[in-house]
Amino acid sequence: MPSLHRLHRAALCAALSGIAAVSTASAEEIIIGAATAQTGGLAPYDQPALAGLRMSIDELNAKGGLGGKYTVKLLIKDTRSDTAQTATVAQELIDAGAKVMITPCDADPSISAGQLTQPLGIPTLTLCGSAPVLTGAVGDVMFGTYPADNVQATAVADFAVSEGKKKVFLLTSPDSTYTANLPEYFGKVFEKKGGAVVGRGTFTMGQPDFSAEITNIKGLADKPDLIMTAAYEPDFPAFIQQLRGAGVTIPVYGADAIGTPTIKALGKLVDGVVYTAAGYAEPGSKLEAFNAAFTKYAGHAPESTYEVNGYEIGLILDQAVKTAGSDDPKAIRDAIANLKDFEGITGKITYAGTDRMPLRPVALMRYDGGEGKHVETLIPAAADVPAP
């Protein structure tokens, strides 16, 4: 009787977490559990996001905690970028009394942690996981924080259409939700707006050699105007190096995972590559001020917009506790789900009326001379965004 067994376990967990909360937390303390990758393949994404979250928690605690009332105890455990390990540490954090759970920048480990928090009603926020299927796969406690893949893809497709691009080659990898689906979302929007998908290719994450795929691209009878991929490091540098090495000059577009120092450091090689970000530090903007404050806090400048996204998670939680007026996980969950036009650092964030993937602006960026230059910031029309 698996369902009964699960029920028992959930009840036991709830009881245990209750005991733990009573024994370890004072009345004014709220425990936030962070099951995030500090080592392994996801670490380059989780580490900056967590640094931003830490900064906001430190600042909030200095002002009396979440909602000015509940001092935050941030418990951090390493998932080693492993999905099974994520479930293990999430359980440990629940046992330690976590009332809010933070999960890694990827759908699979976030879902595994969500399976544990969902029956207990603990609000769970992924750091920068952007797969729109993520929240549906877990249930009503799971929240995305970064612009969703389908939203990002729509923004890039809108931009490509506005540039007069007609034909696209989609390069996907079935190895992660992000790399598999984001280019396909792009394809859907692009086709709907009059473009054509002239070819598709796949790669295995971590594969050394893209030459066969690149030769196929070169051999296409119908030459594409652009290549859309959600490949990220170390695959993206390999792909672009080998693509340009083979003498192919077709522009390459991607999404948020290539807005990193590693890709930027490729210099001329990535000139013209378009990508997305949660925001852009215009002079005089809130984000510019955040970047300066973060530099002071961490001793180095933010690497990407994952830092500010992590920081905004702290602000969202603060607002939610304020609205809920309590540290009850269910009340916090409801408050996040009803958040509307919340002023973050990068712009307005809305959860109300969504399936818990936030509506928020997407900044389009383009590498030029070793720098990411801002092209435009937009919120795609909801009607254009393909269903997850």
Binding site: Q38, T39, G40, G41, A43, P44, Q47, P174, R200, G201, T202, T204, G206, Q207, P208, D209, S211, A212, E213, T215, N216, K218, G219, E233, P234, P237, A238, I240, Q241, Q242, R244, G245, A246, G247, T260, P261, T262, I263, K264, A265, L266, G267, K268, L269, E303
Partner: protein, 293 residues
């Protein structure tokens, strides 16, 4: 198109052959599959990055990086494997896993979890064109370097005294020692050569990938292991043959499979490996093993 794909296949196969040969040289003498071979590559990659950052000219940086790989292999033998000499195959295997994990964590926490971009000189991303046909400078260098390294290794093993001793040791180490050849020197040389090959392979690998990261050694060592097993574990010509075969099969499958089936490429390759081993359990070119009663 077809000619282009053949060049792609040979270029990838050459790198796999270098890697598999590096594994096989050590295995043939010590009976150790060194799973930390990939981390020797990572180390060479970081050495290349460091030399370039320090402003060394590119050829010097490559030289430094390859030497680092070779010296690190010798150091690894001295520190981790020599105390384990004579231990069971399982203990040696676990030691190599331990060394590999240790180095990965050191790279990750000591340098950065994020891949570091390595800016290759501009000419390396160039391409020669002959009419419709383009061949990249990178793949060409890869083919030339692998060929030269494999030939040099063959000459060394056939013509030099140490090389002859190593081939003999691969067949029957005990008899070689009875002939008065010091075991430690043979083993150290085997590790030196394997490190040299790892260093060279790393240069080709990094040139293709434009970045180094703490985990980059995993895929190559896995491919090298598969290639060495298919070729015949412990057989040096077998390792080379296995490496080329694996590279050629991978590229041909990637080139010809329809997009819907392409994600199953690795599964198909590995099924092929199983089929080869069912037909020839000792590999394509089995190692010579002296049976003693």
């Amino acid at each position: 198109m077809v000619a282009q794909q053949i060049i792609n296949a040979v270029s990838l196969g050459g790198v796999y052959a270098l890697l598999a040969l590096g594994l096989a040289i050590v295995f043939s003498i010590v009976g150790l599959i060194n799973f930390a071979h990939g981390e020797l590559m990572t180390l060479s990659g970081y050495a290349l990055l460091a030399s370039l950052v320090l402003g060394f000219p590119f050829p010097v940086a490559v030289l430094v990086a390859v030497s680092c790989g070779a010296l690190a292999a010798v150091a690894m033998e001295r520190i981790a494997f020599r105390p384990m000499r004579g231990a069971s195959v399982t203990s040696l295997l676990l030691t190599s896993f331990a060394v590999s994990s240790l180095l990965k964590v050191i790279f990750q926490n000591g340098i950065s979890a994020r891949p570091q971009a390595v800016a290759m000189p501009g000419w390396m991303t160039g391409a020669f064109s002959f009419g419709d046909f383009t061949i990249g400078v990178g793949p060409s260098i890869s083919i030339v370097v692998s060929a030269l390294a494999l030939i040099a290794m063959e000459v060394f093993l056939r013509r030099s005294v140490t090389g002859t001793a190593m081939r003999a040791a691969a067949e029957d180490f005990d008899v070689v020692r009875l002939m008065g050849i010091p075991a430690s020197r043979i083993i150290a040389t085997a590790f030196l050569l394997s490190g040299l090959l790892a260093g060279l392979a790393a240069m080709l690998w990094v040139a293709q990938r434009a970045s180094v990261d703490p985990l980059m050694g995993f895929t190559p060592v896995l491919k090298a292991f598969i290639a060495a097993v298919v070729g015949g574990l412990g057989s040096l010509p077998g390792a080379v043959a296995g490496g080329f075969l694996l590279g050629i099969i991978e590229v041909l499958l990637q080139a010809t499979l329809p997009a819907a089936i392409a994600p199953y490429r690795d599964a198909i390759v590995l099924s092929g490996v199983i089929a080869v081993l069912l037909l020839r359990p000792q590999g394509l070119i089995p190692a010579v093993r002296v049976q003693r009663s």
